[in-house]
């Protein structure tokens, strides 16, 4: 036959076919020009130029014509089968897949030593259902049986392979044993479409020869399998428990895999789960991904139940699970619809807590107790009681845990993380740092809580747990936790802050630095180190002589300085270490705290500029007095008084007294001629002064001794224009303050004669100055203005006055008194009454009463 499709016929045969004239040259044939030159007439007779026999070497004779029958096989069918377009490369290859595979394995194994690992990999490779292999098959779409969801099919494979490995029948050395055949038949039953020849390549049936190495590997694999089989049952008993717990863990009503419509399926899957679980350690199947925490927690639970008799491996309700059938199950996947022995477990699932109580909740302790029972008999009465007590306690605890475990798994770990984060944030936000951030709210609430202590404190405490909330009784333990946690958080935050922030990165081999920036710390373009402002000399503060004290801006800046110091002191005060016990040496913290406090107070004192020397030239305003002219400085005085000591208070009082006629409220407080009232601004200033500055001063004066009062009044008389003072509200208030205090001391009899005498002299001087101007101290048109302060002053003067002085006073202000009494009649009831009361202040001091006057008229 022709192989390449040539015309293989020999020239001599050709004649039979082709009727070409032998003599005539053919179309394709050059005419032989030398044909006649051969000179052999015989040859010429012979028509053919060449005789085949002459040139033929006879090789053709050696061909064995009989071996042609396999040509079809070798080259793919001669005449009969023309290769179609649907040539089955795949199928053809599959026929020799085994050989190819073996070849590959041999190749792969050759360079390595036949170690354990190699065997393992060998084993794995050869097992079609090994986990990795199964994983590889997963993506391949498999037509699933109609009641099965495709995603589960991959799960079926690995566990079968596992048990196939352990079962000796599956080892291919024995070839295709009947059992193995059954096994594979089952596989086919469960997975109807096994039409994947490439996956079945290691089928034992196809293997005929084994190399020595392969045999070795086989033996080792067998040993391993035995070992594995021996180990397998140990973790096994745990597994059903785990599945049970799975069902208990807050998912009682929920079928394990979410097939409520196929209870059968559930049952079928339950054992599968059991088998799978050992795998789960390495490679969690999908159903575990759904609820990751429970499986991890399940062993936890078991260990928490204190069952001393139980082995460390947790060999639990072994009797509950018939081992034999289970093994069978593992080996032979049950056909569809056949109920496995473990079915009831699956059924218990939906029953939730009952199911929980049954196999695990109750049985577990009992199992634990079984070996104990004989011990009880041997125990003494006392021991027995004790033992039983403990036992019941343990049972109770177990019961409680189980009951609580109903709610296990309601929150996922990410839920919990979220909540923890919120809580931590809350704790962090209560930190000192955010006390700055939330200053107003916190202090406002604290103040309110202080003002009405019944109700809002709890609210405050609720809002800011642990900060300064109620710490007593019931909440103490909780508070401790909170406090501890808060401290931990604080430490963590502090540590994070302490860690030097990386703002630059120098990559190895790079030529420059990479600097980062973020929203909070933008990349610094210039790095200029500011001077530390906590030093002794404030850079913002001008030195003494540079302080002009006049321009408003610097005054305001100075006032702000005072406030800054005050705020520092306030926040320092909040860090007070707490009252030290009496008799106990203050610890380092407390000492340090006081040191810092003293430093801050000194700073505050300096910021007041009160110690700056008084300039002698007229109209030179002392810095302190200048600062005091702004409202906020006045408002600061009471707060300053809280921190400074007595000596400093008297210094302030003296300073104010000394330059009283320069204080704005005095300078501007005098009624200009021909005006009926003061400007609004001045009124406000006066109000502010009497509201903020006077009370602390009064508080101090109220405790002062008579010589201090005398001294102050002396200073006033010597250095200040008292007449001016007397015509202003604040001035009069000052005078009233001094005189009334002196009177009180005098009448109480606390002072000695000498001091009283001195006071009387000073008083007389004051009276002399004012004597002729008593009417001027009234505000013009007093009928409309509240002139109480005037009457107060007059009253205080009258108390201290002797008879002649009183006489003079009465004659001086008599008209005014009468005027007031008249006015009170024309004015509305309330105001009139007020006026009378004011006037009465003075009259009473004289020992009279307004009623006398009224009745006289």
């Amino acid at each position: 036959m022709s192989f390449f499709g040539f015309d293989a016929t020999l020239p001599r045969d050709r004649a039979a076919h082709v009727p070409h004239p032998k003599q005539a040259p053919g179309f394709s044939q050059q005419r032989d020009a030398f044909a006649g030159l051969s000179g052999n007439p015989n040859e010429l007779d012979n028509d053919d130029g060449y005789d085949f026999e002459d040139t033929y070497d006879g090789l053709g004779d050696k061909l064995d014509e009989g071996d042609d029958e396999f040509n079809d096989e070798t080259f793919g069918g001669g005449n009969a089968a023309a290769p179609g377009k649907d040539f089955d490369f795949f199928g053809s290859t599959a026929k020799v897949a085994n050989a190819i595979n073996e070849e590959q394995l041999l190749y792969a194994r050759n360079p390595k030593k036949p170690t354990q690992a190699a065997h393992l990999s060998y084993q794995q490779d050869r097992q079609p259902n090994a986990p990795s292999y199964a994983a590889a098959t997963k993506p391949k779409p498999q037509p699933a049986p109609k009641h099965q969801i495709p995603t589960e099919i991959p799960e079926l494979k690995p566990e079968m392979s596992l048990w196939a490995t352990t079962s000796p029948e599956a080892t291919p050395a024995k070839g295709l044993s009947a059992h193995a055949a059954a096994h594979f038949m089952h596989v086919e039953n469960q997975e109807p479409p096994p039409a994947q020849p490439n996956f079945t390549q290691p089928a034992p049936a196809a293997r005929k020869y084994m190399s020595l190495e392969e045999v070795e590997a086989e033996i080792l694999a067998k040993k391993q399998a035995k070992r594995a089989a021996a180990q397998q049952p140990q973790p096994q008993p745990q597994l059903p428990l785990a599945t049970q717990l799975n069902q208990q863990d807050g998912w009682p009503g929920r079928p394990v895999q979410g097939f409520p419509q196929h209870p059968q399926m559930q049952m079928q899957q339950t054992p599968l789960q059991q088998i799978e679980l050992p795998f789960a350690r390495g490679m969690p199947p999908p159903q575990q991904n759904q609820r990751p925490p429970q499986n991890e927690r399940a062993p936890d639970h078991l260990q928490r139940g204190p069952i001393p008799q139980q082995g460390p491996g947790g060999q639990l309700p072994f009797p509950q699970i018939p081992t034999g059938p289970q093994f069978q199950n593992n080996n032979i996947p049950f056909p569809l619809g056949v109920m496995p022995p473990q079915g009831p477990q699956g059924l218990q699932g939906p029953q939730g807590i009952q199911g929980l109580q049954g196999p695990q909740g109750l049985q577990q302790p009992f199992v634990g107790m079984q070996p104990v029972q004989p011990q009880i008999m041997q125990m003494t009465e006392e021991e027995r009681v004790k033992f039983l007590e403990e036992e019941s306690k343990r049972l109770k605890r177990n019961h409680k845990i189980l009951q609580l475990s109903r709610y296990n798994g309601l929150m996922t770990p990410s839920d919990k993380n979220f909540i923890t984060r919120i809580q931590l944030q809350q704790l962090v936000s209560v930190n000192e740092d955010s006390f700055n951030e939330d200053f107003y709210y916190q202090v406002y609430m604290a103040i309110r809580a202080r003002n009405n202590p019944q109700q809002p404190l709890s609210q405050f405490a609720q809002t800011y747990l642990g900060q300064q909330g109620a710490r007593g009784g019931r909440t103490r333990r909780q508070d401790n936790h909170l406090l501890r946690m808060q401290q931990q958080v604080q430490r963590a935050v502090a540590a994070a802050k302490a860690r030097p922030k990386v703002s630059q990165l120098v990559l190895e081999g790079s030529l420059g630095k990479i600097s980062f920036s973020n929203v909070k710390t933008p990349k610094p373009l210039l790095s200029i180190k500011k001077q530390d402002s906590t030093g002794v000399v404030e850079p913002g503060q001008k030195p003494t002589h540079a302080f002009a004290g006049i321009d408003r801006r610097s005054i305001l800046a100075a006032a702000e300085d005072i406030y800054r110091c005050l705020l520092d002191l306030d926040s320092h005060e909040r860090k007070h270490p707490g009252p030290s016990l009496t008799g106990q040496q203050p610890d380092a913290n407390t000492i340090q705290w006081f040191e810092v406090r003293d430093a801050l107070v000194a700073k505050l004192w300096r910021s007041m500029r009160i110690m700056e020397p008084i300039k002698e030239e007229p109209n030179a305003l002392h810095p302190f007095i200048a600062i005091l002219s702004v409202k906020k400085a006045k408002e600061a005085i009471p707060r300053v008084f809280r921190y400074i000591d007595v000596q400093q208070r008297i210094t302030i009082l003296t300073m104010i007294t000394l330059s009283l006629d320069q204080v704005d409220v005095i300078k501007e407080g005098r009624y200009p001629p021909d005006t009926l009232s003061l400007s609004n601004e001045t009124k406000k200033k006066i109000e502010g002064f009497s509201q903020y500055v006077l009370p602390p001063l009064l508080g101090y004066v109220g405790d002062a001794q008579i010589d201090v009062i005398t001294g102050l009044l002396g200073i006033l008389l010597d250095r200040v224009n008292v007449l001016l003072l007397s015509q202003t509200q604040i001035g009069l208030a000052f005078l009233t303050m001094l005189t009334s205090r002196a009177e009180i001391i005098k009448q109480a009899g606390h002072a000695d004669e000498q001091a009283v005498l001195k006071w009387t002299q000073t008083y007389d001087r004051l009276f002399e100055v004012l004597e002729d101007h008593l009417l001027d101290i009234f505000p013009p048109h007093g009928a409309q203005v509240d002139d109480m302060y005037v009457w107060q002053f007059l009253a205080s003067m009258a108390v201290g006055a002797n008879m002649s002085q009183q006489q003079k006073m009465v004659s001086a202000v008599k008209d005014r008194v009468n005027e007031n009494v008249q006015a009170s009649k024309t004015l509305p009831q309330e105001m009139g009454q007020h006026k009378l009361v004011n006037t009465n202040l003075f009259l009473r001091a004289l020992g009279l009463d307004i009623d006398l006057l009224l009745s006289n008229q």
Binding site: N436, D438, F439, Y440, Y441, V443, I447, L567, D570
Partner: protein, 98 residues
């Protein structure tokens, strides 16, 4: 955070919120957040004749960015404390700028 801190103290007080669209709503401040979004309860539009469509509304959530003014109850504001808080805030800002 100063304003947030401040408005938190006004919770459960009656305030009047004036919006940028000239609507004024009076109601009880229920809550405020860091964006100064405001929740009001028992609201009443100040000019009810002009905005009758809001008469049926009982409570509102107002986005902070649309608020023009908040009319405060004076008694509920501690001005001295507010001044201090402002100072602290300013100091904190200055520190941050350093």
């Amino acid at each position: 955070m100063l304003f947030f801190s401040f408005f938190k103290t006004l919770v459960d007080h009656e305030v009047t919120i004036e919006l940028k669209n000239d609507l004024s709503i009076r109601g009880t401040l229920k809550s405020v957040d860091q964006f100064l979004n405001i929740k009001l309860d028992e609201i009443q539009v100040v000019d009810e004749v002009k905005y009758p469509h809001l008469s049926a509304v009982k409570n509102v959530f107002i986005r902070g960015s649309v608020v023009r003014y908040v009319h405060l109850p004076a008694v509920a504001v501690d001005t001295a404390l507010l001044e201090d808080a402002t100072r602290r805030e300013a100091a904190a800002q200055a520190n941050k700028a350093k």
